[in-house]
Symmetry: C2
Subunit: 247 residues, 2 copies
Amino acid sequence: METGRSLMDAVRERCGRCSGRSLSICNVIDDQDLPALVAASSRVVVSSGRCFIQEGAPAHDFYVLTGGRAKLFTLMPDGRRQIVGFAELGDFLGLTSSETYAFTAEALGDVTLCRFPHSAIDRLVERFPRLRGRLQKEASSELVKMQSRLMVLGRKTARERLASFLVEQASPCCGHHALHDEQEPITLPLPMSRTDIADYLGLTIETVSRTFGLFRKEGLISVKGASSVTLLAPGVLSDIANGIKRD
Amino acid sequence: METGRSLMDAVRERCGRCSGRSLSICNVIDDQDLPALVAASSRVVVSSGRCFIQEGAPAHDFYVLTGGRAKLFTLMPDGRRQIVGFAELGDFLGLTSSETYAFTAEALGDVTLCRFPHSAIDRLVERFPRLRGRLQKEASSELVKMQSRLMVLGRKTARERLASFLVEQASPCCGHHALHDEQEPITLPLPMSRTDIADYLGLTIETVSRTFGLFRKEGLISVKGASSVTLLAPGVLSDIANGIKRD
DNA sequence: CCCATCAATTGATCTAGATCAATCTTCCAC
DNA sequence: GTGGAAGATTGATCTAGATCAATTGATGGG
């Protein structure tokens, strides 16, 4: 919470250069109204490996991710883990129907966030009704992504799962600009570990690694040091992801 | 769309006895405002096995399910199917971020619905702002359910999946009233086929059937003619669902 | 009531992916 | 650089659940 002169500075500092601005819920707020947004929120920096949302903890705050990436996961009592999503620039976290968070969020590398207390969002929504619609749209679009993830986990083979993952990573924001060119190679950073990918796809690290190996041998990808891949044939990978066989 | 005298009749007819009223989005609308709701919507009856939402078709309408149950699924090009949910009384269908439906909805037995054209919902939301919040809450709660479904499909064994399914069926409305008593037997109708259950849980019919058989032998359930189960030990099933071993 | 049809169960095998077990990289901290 | 620790790859085996194959049981039309 900031006021007066420093608030204007804060707006310039926080929103002026915020690369998440156009992607996130903030994009329904006019420039002149930004101070209200800044006043309602606080900037949070989370260092690599730290958790900023705890599954089951009281849900006091919403977050907009403004830098870095995070993994979102749930645990079973015996430690089995399912990653329910990877958050990126502009993603809105902490929407929950209940009074507690449904997942844990951990920073993959250093992460910056804007934190909005629950109560502050209520006030903002009252003042900027379009925000409510934006929040709903956010939830709906997440819901659609979830439905395709259910298909991945319920019905796809290991090959199809990894291909789905790679294609998804190549088209952030729910396939917005799709794959620019189906044939054009695309290089992606993979800030998550093989273990994370395995827990996302319902596989083991060994299977993930072997499948990466296969794709490499088949000339579909090339790997640079485990945290960067180039999709050499995005179109083929996309077909594999959808269970389509080319001959 | 109805007017005048017949509208009042329609309200009495449609909403007065609607058992979904208290569960659905309609529960944020005062009785006196119901006519607006009725005027904006039309009643639809769908007979068993018919689809009323088609994956990929232009999303013109929203639906509130007011009677019966439906299965929601997506297909892969080769016909593999993933059931993404079973809709029941009061459920709101057709929320989507894109211009097309993300899944197909098919009636399990005869189904009645209230259909709201997209445009009508926009007008209603403008007139009744609380509706917007209700819609968002609906989407958020669905999102939370999805996250636990990802765990089911990604990390649970066949036993755990079927137990999860049975416990979920026993506590409709996202575990609202939970299991009244963990030890009290509960009898459930199962309007869906074994194939549907398999496609919901990412298993084959054979595995579903075998696992039902095991639960029966272990005295955890008793089955009446494939479309009705009694959970004899809901607490134990719940523990199995969560991977907790009692000894 | 009885047959036909389709769903569900049960049994026998097979296999994709898990598990167990070494290496081999990568990349810091020193 | 250099040692070492964590992560990734690769290989050998095992197994839960898939697949293939009957058989049994429901359900509904004539």
